[in-house]
């Protein structure tokens, strides 16, 4: 029990299939409070599905997911209060195109937390300013660059004051020169002690920011450890091959 008490987020034997295709095959993973865990692995290895399951966007078939030692994966449990504690950022930003950046950020605090508009807006402007978007508050998402949109999407999640953030390949849709500004935001979140589970293709970034790196292969956690352990001395042959492939290009 001592180990479990430390875990902010704990996945136990999580299984998920779409039809005949098993995407997660009895996966265990533990994220401690304030820890940053990077999920690496080839496309289709189950990284995104894992994040979607944690955010209850997909029901799991078997196993359990604990947030602060409470099983959040029980069928029939109201997902909304749980999602309010877990922020998620998507590859394609998924900002609401019909609302301004400010309205994107204040929508959930106002609708879900019933915050008064002036209060929610003041807080949103403060957050936007912190991430260099002060002058973009009244723009619409399609007037922003990809990097700005993704930063706005992160701010939108942060406005709900989540305890855990799930980042799903948040730089994959960006032009190379815009990746840096988004990764800077993630660095800042780590500084503040945010617990994060990050699916990423950016190996150098994973190495820099992760406390733990988890290598997924065919829906299983094949190897995990500190960045040094996984990147410098991968034990599993599949991990070696994957790292060789992504670092040699």
């Amino acid at each position: 029990m001592a180990v479990e008490a430390l875990a902010k987020l704990e996945l136990q034997a999580v299984t998920k299939a779409f039809g005949d295709r098993t995407v997660l095959a009895g996966l265990d993973l533990s994220v401690r409070d304030g820890e940053v865990v990077c999920l690496i692995g080839a496309s289709g290895s189950g990284k995104s599905t894992l994040l979607r399951c944690v955010n209850l966007l997909e029901p799991i078939d078997d196993g359990a997911i604990f947030l602060d030692d409470v099983d959040i994966s029980v069928p029939g449990r109201d997902p909304d209060p749980i999602r309010q504690r877990i922020g998620m950022v998507f590859q394609q930003f998924n900002l609401f195109p019909h609302r301004s950046v400010l309205a994107n950020v204040t929508m959930a605090p106002r609708k879900v937390r019933r915050r008064a508009r002036p209060e929610a807006e003041a807080e949103a402007r403060e957050l936007l300013a912190r991430f260099g978007l002060a002058d973009k508050a009244d723009d619409y998402p399609d007037q922003l660059s990809g990097g700005q949109q993704q930063r706005a999407a992160i701010v939108r999640s942060l406005a709900m004051r989540p305890e855990v953030m799930l980042l799903d390949e948040i730089t994959s849709a960006l032009d190379p020169e815009l990746v840096g500004e988004v990764l800077d935001v993630v660095r800042e979140l780590k500084q503040e002690g945010m617990t994060m589970l990050i699916a990423t293709h950016e190996m150098r970034f994973a190495r820099e920011i992760a406390d733990q790196v988890a290598f997924l292969h065919e829906g299983q956690l094949l190897e995990h450890g500190t960045p040094d352990e996984v990147f410098d001395a991968p034990r599993h042959e599949r991990t070696q091959r994957f790292l060789h492939r992504v670092t040699s290009t």
């Binding site: 979607r52 955010n55 966007l57 997902p79 909304d80 209060p81 999602r83 309010q84 877990i86 922020g87 998620m88 998507f90 394609q92 998924n94 900002l95 609401f96 195109p97 019909h98 609302r99 929508m107 959930a108 609708k111 879900v112 399609d142 999407a153 939108r156 999640s157 709900m160």
Partner: protein, 259 residues
């Protein structure tokens, strides 16, 4: 621009010169374009048109509200609410599959036939109800297409923020869906504006019916032309507005028109 202007003038002049050269033109001019008849009947027709406007004014918002409910009912995912979904599907199938005029006959003659007390036996009321039923089936399909055109990832983003499915529908999905279908809706409402005249077939004296009466009295077809002019005075601006909205939507979404 110049080419367009020149070719337009040529065509208009040709029609203006050639058509009156037809052998029966004198007769047609007398029975369809009699100026004195036109001015005589115009005021009466305009008065009758007021009824069309009223029917439109109360039908249109009712149609929008009902159609939204049906479109959302068709989209419910909970298995417990399957009967609702089934009802909505049957509703749209039935009312889209029956000619509007038939719906008006069946409901407009059928329901007052039940012998309800006034004002519940008015053909005007049940004619409007029939219009609402028929059109809300069409409009519901337009809304449904709009709702389905909003990408699933928008829903995922809203739900991941902790918003309920209802909040997601009303704050994220519907506003985007409605914006996209406004031009298509305008077309349906232009049709509605004309189909309001069908209500006259079960009794109420509106513009079309009044024109018929005037035609019988004067023995001249000019009242029909006058009625057409009145309809056009309303539908052409509506059509232009629809075009404008469509063009604006295209610009907004970055799509360019293909010549």
């Amino acid at each position: 621009m110049l080419i367009a202007a020149v070719s337009t003038i040529v065509v208009v002049v040709a029609i203006a010169v050639l058509v009156p050269m037809a052998p029966g033109w004198d007769r047609v001019e007398r029975s369809f374009f009699a100026g004195d008849v036109f001015t005589d009947v115009f005021d009466d027709l305009l008065g009758a048109f007021w009824l069309d406007v009223k029917i439109f004014a109360w039908s249109a918002p009712t149609i929008v509200a009902l159609a939204l409910l049906i479109a959302m009912a068709r989209g419910v995912r909970s298995p417990a609410l399957f009967p609702l979904r089934l009802f909505a599907a049957v509703y749209t199938d039935v009312f889209r599959g029956v000619p509007v005029i038939l719906t008006i006959y069946l409901i407009g003659f059928g329901v007052p036939g039940l012998g309800l007390p006034r004002p519940w036996n008015s053909p005007l009321l049940w004619g409007s109800v029939a219009l609402v039923l028929a059109y809300s089936a069409y409009v519901a399909e337009v809304f449904r297409a709009g709702i389905e055109s909003v990408h699933e990832s928008q829903r995922a983003a809203a739900r991941s923020l902790g918003m309920s499915s209802r909040q997601t529908m009303f704050s994220v999905v519907l506003p985007q869906a409605i914006r996209r279908v406004v031009p298509a809706l305008m077309n349906d409402f232009i049709s509605l504006q004309k189909d309001v005249a069908l209500v006259s077939l079960i009794g109420p004296i509106e513009l079309l019916r009044q024109a018929e009466v005037e035609k019988s009295l004067s023995g001249n077809f000019t009242p029909y032309v006058a009625a057409a002019v009145i309809f056009l005075a309303v539908t052409i601006p509506m059509t232009r507005l629809a075009d404008y909205l469509l063009a604006r939507e295209r610009r907004r979404t970055g799509a360019t028109a293909v010549a």
